[in-house]
């Protein structure tokens, strides 16, 4: 998730690359405990996240969203 962009930056990048009708939909919060289900998050990283991410943010460290767009005709 270190490479994840902010929602607006992601949408702008899609638009800047020549797509139209860019829309952002379904958002799903991803917190530390959900990240622990994914093997790409090492136990050491999960432990670090538990220690340094503020408690109020532990449930929503990142948000997955659905971005849709169209290549112009």
């Amino acid at each position: 998730m270190s490479g994840a962009l902010a929602e607006r930056a992601f949408a702008l990048k899609i638009q800047k690359m020549g797509f139209e009708a860019v829309t952002l939909g379904e958002r799903i919060p991803h917190g530390v405990e959900k990240a622990a289900l994914y093997p790409l998050f090492t136990p050491e990283l999960i432990q670090l996240m538990r220690e340094v991410i503020p408690p109020e943010r532990q449930d929503t460290v990142a948000v997955s969203l659905v971005a849709k767009a169209r290549k112009p005709f």
């Binding site: 998730m1 962009l5 990048k13 959900k34 790409l40 991410i53 948000v63 997955s64 767009a69």
Partner: protein, 196 residues
Amino acid sequence: MKADGNKDMLFQDEINQAVRAAYADIDHGAGRSAVDLLYTEEELAGLPPEAVGWALGVGNPVRHAELRTGETVLDIGSGGGIDTILAARIVGPTGRAIGLDVLDQMVRRARAHAAAAGVEGWTEFVRGEMESIPLPDESVDVVISNGVINLSPRKSRVLAEIRRVLKPGGRLCVADLTVEDELPPEVTANEAAWAG
């Protein structure tokens, strides 16, 4: 240069190597408990358990892609193939579902899963990088992806490649991670955080 642009420029090779190494090391996906948060029972019905177990996505792009019978769909970062198989079911044998993944072993795994799901006749998996998609120009109706574009340090290049392979009027439908507030530096500096 804007902040999001900087993320595309720093340490590209190191990030790519870290992501690929971490991805090559895993021996299972996120598993059923993560999958149940993203897919319905109906969507999962009939899928090989191995395809479900190997899922690593963060959303459900197929549900939102408005796929139609006969369309050609490209799944970027197809992993164990769950979304490619779901897409193949919708486009059917008159369409084509293509999964692209950077790892040979994942491509082989996804092929086996597609065969077990009975969609191998119109589904293929190819090894390649999302920054250099090994498909012709304007050959795809829809591009989907699930939690993968954020892993690339060259997101603009990825989007340019998606645009190149899409037919005019073709659609993009991706689920991906976004982060609104900066993560603590201890986290962003951790190599595993670039792959996760």
